[in-house]
C-alpha cells in the first residue's frame, strides 16, 4: 500500500517537493453526473430557456475552474495546462435523466492533472445546478470520480467502474 505523501513530519500538510520528478506528458479524465427529473429535462429541451444551453455555461465555468485548481485545492501545485475540453450527454433512466459530464485535461509537467480534471467536472456540475435551480432545487450531483489518468511515475490508472 502506498503512503500518504502530502504530510510533513509534524503531521501538517505540505506542497510535495516534485523537483526530482521527470517532466512527462500527462492527461486525466474525470466524470461527474447529475440526476434530474423528467420535468426539468423537458423544460431544458423544450426551449423554456429559448436558445439558452446550460451546458455551454457549465463548460466555460469548468474550463475556468480547471485553471483555478491550485487556488482552490490547498496543496495542489500550479500547473501550466496545455488543453481542457468537455463532453456531455444525457441518459434516460426509469425515472428522470442522468447528465454525464466528462472533463479532459492535459499538461506536460512534474505532477499530474487529476485534481484539475476532478475540479473542472465538479464546477461544471455545480454550474449546471445553478443555471437550473430556479426550476428544481432537488437535483443531486450523483457521482464524481477519476475515470483515467496517463503519464507520471505511478503510471496509468483506470477506475474499476469503467473497466
Amino acid at each position: 500500500m502506498s503512503t500518504f505523501s502530502h504530510w510533513n513530519e509534524e503531521g501538517r500538510p505540505k506542497m510535495v517537493d516534485i523537483s526530482q520528478k521527470q517532466v512527462s506528458e500527462r492527461t486525466a479524465i474525470a466524470q461527474s453526473k447529475i440526476s434530474l427529473s423528467d420535468a426539468l429535462y423537458d423544460a431544458i429541451k423544450n426551449g423554456q430557456i429559448k436558445k439558452g444551453d446550460p451546458l455551454q455555461v457549465a463548460q466555460i465555468a469548468g474550463i475556468m475552474g480547471a485553471k483555478k485548481t491550485a487556488d482552490i485545492i490547498p496543496m495542489c501545485h500550479p500547473i501550466a495546462l496545455q488543453g481542457t475540453d468537455f463532453s456531455f450527454h444525457y441518459e434516460k433512466k426509469s425515472e428522470g435523466y442522468d447528465l454525464i459530464i466528462q472533463a479532459t485535461v492535459k499538461c506536460a509537467g512534474q505532477t499530474g492533472v487529476e485534481m484539475e480534471a476532478l475540479t473542472a467536472a465538479s464546477i461544471a456540475a455545480l454550474t449546471f445546478y445553478d443555471m437550473c435551480k430556479a426550476v428544481d432545487k432537488s437535483m443531486v450531483i450523483a457521482e464524481t470520480y477519476l475515470v483515467k489518468k496517463t503519464g507520471g511515475k505511478s503510471g496509468d490508472f483506470t477506475h474499476e467502474k469503467i473497466k
Copy 2:
C-alpha cells in the same frame, strides 16, 4: 412549475437583477459524501499521517471555497457571508466507509447561499480526495445535494432525501 430565471431574452445567461428583493436572513446546508475503502480508512485512523487530519485541511479549503463562489460559478452574486462551518462523520458500510460532509453557510442579503454551501461541500470533498489520493485514487464523491435552506421569498426547502 417555476421558470428559468438566469437567462435573458436572447437565451444568454445573466446575473439576475435582485434589486427589488427584500434583504432577509438566509441559511443553507449542503452535503457531500465520499466513499472510501476499509484500507484507506484504517490508514487515516491508525496514524499513518501522524497527527495529520485530512478533515482539518478539507474544512479550511471548504470555508475558503465558500468565499470564492461568486468567482467560480459564473452567474452567482457576490455575497457578504456572515458565517460558515462544517461537520464531518464517518459511517461504516458493509464494505468500506462513507465520509459525510456538511457545510452550513449564513448571510443576510437579497439572494440565498445555496450555491455557497454546495460549493463549500464540493471543495471540501475534493480536498479530502487530494490529501489521500497518494494512498487510493479510486475514492468516489458519491452524492452532493442541497439539504436545506431557509429565508428568501421562495421560502424554506428541505430535500426529500432527509424528510
Copy 3:
C-alpha cells in the same frame, strides 16, 4: 471643474473614503464596439463554428469580469452587484461590420458601478477577440465609453455621443 478625488496629500492614489456617502440605487451602462471584416462576420454567421456563438462566451466572461473589477482596477471599492446583463448587435458598415456591446450593471451602495460596467464591456470585447482571433487578428476594439449612469450624489450622466 471637479477635482481629482483619488489622490492623497502626498500625490499617492487612495481608495476614497465613502463612509459619509448615502446608500442609493445605482445603474451604469457602458458600451464597447469591435470592428470586424466581412469575411469574419460571414464565417461566424455561416456556421463555421457550428452551433458555437462567440457572444455567449463574451457575455459570460463580461459578467464574471464585472465581479472582478475591484480586483483589477486598483482603487475601486468592492461592491455587492445586484445584477448584470448584456446586449449585442451587429451593424453593417460600408466595409465590414461593427459589433456593439452594451453592459448594464446595478447595485445599491455608497459608490457607483461605472467601472464595473466599463470593465464588463471591455472584457466581453477582449473575449470576442480571443474566440475569433484564429480567423482574424486585425480586429480593432474601436470605442469604449460610459453611456449612462444613474444614482449617487453627482447625479445622472449621459454621454454626449448618444444625446
Copy 4:
C-alpha cells in the same frame, strides 16, 4: 482563410490542445488610446494631483492585469510571463489630447501572449479612466488593437494600421 480553433465538435468553447506545439520565444505589443479633453490634460499636467501620476497607477494595474489574463479571458492558457513593460505618450489633437498606451509582453511557450498584451493595455486604459473620472467621465477609450507579435507557428504579424 484560417479556421476557428477555439471550438469543439459540439460548438462549445474549449481550451485548445497545444501539447504538440513547439516552445518558442514570443512577444506581443498591444496598443490602447484614450481621448481626453484639453481641460483634463491641463489639470493632470498642472499638478492638480500634486506629485501624483495616473500613468504610474495605470502601468502597475496593467502589469498585474497581464498576469490575470488566464483568469479573465475564459479560453486563455496559463502562461509564465517573462517580462512586461509599458510606454505612454500624449499626442495633441485639434481638440483635446490622445494618450497612447503600449504594452509589451514576453514569454517562451507553446502559445502566444497576444491576449496578455491586449488585456494589459485595456486594463491600463480603464485604470487611467478610473483615476481621472472624478474630473471628466466622458473620456473615450478610442482604439485597442494588436500592434505586433513575433514567434509561434503562425509567424510574425504587424497590424496594417502601423505598416
Copy 5:
C-alpha cells in the same frame, strides 16, 4: 481573559457567525516597519531609480492587498471596505533608516477591519522589499502590529507601544 472564538467544538477553524452582531462604523490602523541600510536609503533618495518611487508601488499593492484579505486569511469575512489610505515616513537611526508604514482601513459592518489593515501594511512592506531587493536583500521587516481600532462590541483598542 477572552476565549478563542474562531474554533468549533471539534477543534476545527470556522468563519465565526456574526449574524447577531450590530453593524457599526469601524476603523483600524496597522503599522509595519522596514530597516534599511544607509546605502539603500541614499540610492533611493539620490535618484538611482530616477523619477521612480517604491512607496507609490507599495501603496497601490497595499490597497489592493486590503481588498484581498478574505481571500488570503482563511477565516476572515468578506467585507465591503469604505476607504483605505497609507502614510509613510523614513526615520534616521544611528545606523541606517527605518521606513514606517501605516495603513488605515474603514468599513461599516458586523466585524472589524483589523486583519485588512495588518494585511495591507504587510503587503506594502513586502512590495517595498521587492522593489529594492536588487540593491539589498538584507532588509528586515522589523515590526508589524495593530496600532488602533475603533468600533464594534469589543470597543476601542490602542496598542501599548504607542500609548
Copy 6:
C-alpha cells in the same frame, strides 16, 4: 553596489525581462517571528482551543499564499512552484514567547522564489494572529526576513543574522 532592476527609463515599475536568464534550481527560506504573551501561549497549549492548532491553519494559509505571490506583489513573475513546506517552534523569552515561522520554497526557473518565501512566512504570521486575536490583539509580528537563497546568477545568499 547593484542597481535597481525593477524600474524602466521613465521611472515606472516593470516586470523585469528574464528571457535571457538560465533556468536553474532555486530555493529560498524566509522567517517570520511573532511575540506573544505568556497568557496566550498557555491558552493555546492548555487546550482552550481543544484539538485545534493555529499552526495548522497558518501553514495551510502560508502555502496557499506562496501560490498567490505573483497576484499580490505587483512586479513578481508567475512561477511554477515545485514544493513548499514550513517549520514552527516556540522559544521562551524572559517575558512571553516567540513563535519562529520558517517557510521553504523551491522552483526550477529563470527567477528566484525569495518573494514567495517571504510572502508565505508573512501570511502564516498574519493567519496565526487572526486565529488568536480574540484572546490577545497586542501580538507583534516581530521580524520577517530572507534567511537564505540558493540558485540563480546572483548566487547564494545567507542573511548576516544567522551567520
